[in-house]
Amino acid sequence: MKRTTIRAAAATSVAALILAGCGAGGRDGDSGDGGGGGDAAAEGDTTGITDTTIKIGDHKPLTGVAAPGYSEISTGAQAYYDWVNEAGGIHGRTIEYNVKDDGYNPTNTSKVVDELVLKDEVFAIVGGLGTPTHSAVVDFLNQEEVPDLMVSSGAQLWGNDPEKRPWTFGWQPDYEIEGKIMGQYIKENMPDAKVGLFLQGDELGADGEKGLRMYIDDQIVESVEYASGNTDVGPQISKLKASGADLVIGFNTPSYTALSQLVSMKLGYDPQWMYTNVGSDVNLVGSLLAKFSDGSVKDGSSALDGMMTTEYIPGLDTPDDPWVKLWQEVWDKHGEGELTNYRIFGMSQAYAFVSALQASGEDLTRERIVEVIEKDGANWPGPGLAPFRWSEESHLGMSGMAMSQTKGEDYENLTEVLVTDLGDAEITEGDTAAAEDAPPENGIPDVAVVE
């Protein structure tokens, strides 16, 4: 018995010492010291930066239920970074982009971001995707004082409290303002519609609902929720049908757009559909649907005809838009496969990040990039149809969008670009400057360095 105990002890000690050996050399700056990240001295934190490179990290669902569509975003971003690197980088630094798979699973996101921040020591996390997933790491990133930029999600918590989360910035319009804009459109154009809600069981659904209820609370007859990962939405759609809703608004991910369409077909339910922009890409959902019934649903996009949604950046339906032309050029040079709206999403985000790098100048530090976005970010040109709301008081992303409707494979705008903010802010027509700007010749942002 004594031998075995000693053997166990030896095994443990050896294991411990091996691990110690792996990490020997003392602690580095950010080894989880409760507060500040490393040398928060006068110069600022330059983790992840060298004179010639910038290392950034990202977490995306490359596998799992949210992967259709979303897994392509990082390929777009990578293509744009390749384009920028080919032109020499920004202020002499090339961008190294590390994306890790979290499978839309918050526990994995936690692990993966730990790796990126503590092991790979990235400069910033750019484009972290998912409301449930990024919620799991936002506090950690702020604690470790890591810039958390261009979060790929419309939850408002990325930007509505810069005091609590000073390092986090949203990018796309948030779900609440989307709900508001949708709500106003419905109130003005479909005041007699009986509205049903199909919501993901987290902020994606909740924020959208909040915005909608500000305008059409009296028109909503039923609201159902689903949990991402459980692909049986039969009971939810049955409930919607039973309530008599003739307009259903979905705040969900693309797989669930396909599922809701499918189940409705089964139940013979055919309301007017409206989906959030994060779940409404016609090509993707169409291809998912097309295969379901060997013949019945021939071309999936026809099932989606007449679907309403919102738009905030130009996509493949406007191939002559100067931004889309740029994306096509970038993709032809550095991408594999076809250009899709998700890849455009990735490129548009990357463009905003590169603008921030430009504006920070050569003295790039973590503090500086945050400062620069707050001071000047709202003025930067970009593909967005409405300007960013970035400032010291708000870290929220784009301020507006236009309502649109699918006609075949194209989208048709139903309204102008409408702009608003959280809460009681009114909805106004946007100033067209943001919608009508065009990229510089070489496709690389031309933003002045901020003082």
Binding site: A67, P235, L267, F292
Partner: protein, 291 residues
């Protein structure tokens, strides 16, 4: 109306669980092992079918191909892997099939990708309507119900009326005696696994019809199918069917009226209650353990 639709949904789902449970029972009867890897095996054959369909083949050709693949896969698994496990320890076979579960998952993800892909349905997906009301019964679900019944009838015929069936039953009942009487036990075991795997593949195809497939899509069925098999009694094919239907309808009702989050708990409660009252399952005939 919602009640009727929920029950109808439960019936077609229950049929799929019944098929899966049947596969489990067949394997249990022949080798006294619960094949936890049955679900990923079915998932792999379904993906094979999907690959064929995407390259242009007719649905039915792919359907049959999947069943044949199931037959081959079942035979291979038994012949190359299961045969060598140490049966005395009742834990080893479970771990073995669990290991296979994980391996097949990973292999499928590597070969077929982890993406959620749609799988076509053989018949329409619109529910039958009488006047204004639409029932939650589509041509595909009718097909599901009919084909499972047909398969069960065929199996019953095989086991009770043919020599082959007799041989298989003998080998399952007592290997040693069967061997002495000239039964090629090893071959029979392989055949048992192969047949069970065909039934499992069938359930995989039926579940996939008109839905999304991905490497984990059958995982839920493992649990509910297993519970169904145990409910009916692991020794009873008829029990598997009854158990499957019971599970399908019960879980559908729970999902519709109480919430989908409570479904696995409901399954657990049903299982525990039945086992505490009748430890061998509803239709058990074997003597119960007394300790």
């Amino acid at each position: 109306m919602q009640l009727i639709n929920t029950i109808l949904g439960g019936l077609s789902l229950g049929m799929v669980y019944a098929a899966f449970a049947l596969a489990l029972v067949l394997i249990w009867q022949s080798t006294r092992i619960v094949n936890f890897a049955q679900a990923p095996m079915a998932m792999v054959t379904t993906f094979i079918a999907l690959t064929l369909i995407e390259s242009g083949m007719n649905y039915w050709v792919a359907f049959v191909a999947a069943l044949v693949a199931g037959f081959v896969l079942g035979a291979l698994v038994e012949r190359l892997i299961i045969r060598y496990v140490d049966h005395d320890n009742h834990i080893n076979p479970v771990i073995l099939t669990l290991g296979l579960f994980i391996v097949l998952h990973a292999v499928a993800a590597v070969i077929f990708g982890s993406n959620f892909q749609s799988f076509p349905a053989p018949f329409g997906l619109t529910g039958f309507s009488v006047g204004d009301t639409t029932f939650n019964l589509t041509p595909t679900s009718v097909f599901t119900i009919l084909i499972v019944i047909a398969v069960m009838a065929l199996l019953r015929l095989l086991f009770l009326k043919t020599d082959l069936g007799l041989t298989m039953r003998a080998a399952a009942f007592n290997q040693e005696v069967a061997r002495i009487l000239g039964v090629r036990v090893n071959r029979t075991l392989t055949l048992g696994w192969a047949l069970a795997s065909v039934v499992g593949s069938l359930s995989g195809l039926l579940i996939a019809a008109g839905g999304l497939v991905h490497p984990s899509y059958m995982d839920g069925v493992v649990v509910y199918g297993f519970v169904a098999a145990v409910l009916g009694g692991l020794d009873s094919p008829a029990g598997a069917v009854v158990g499957g239907l019971l599970m399908g309808v019960t879980l559908s009702l729970v999902s519709g009226y109480l919430g989908s989050g409570l479904v696995p708990l409901a399954a657990l409660i049903v299982l525990v209650v039945v086992l505490l009252v009748r430890p061998g399952g509803l239709f058990s005939t074997s003597t119960e353990r007394t300790v």
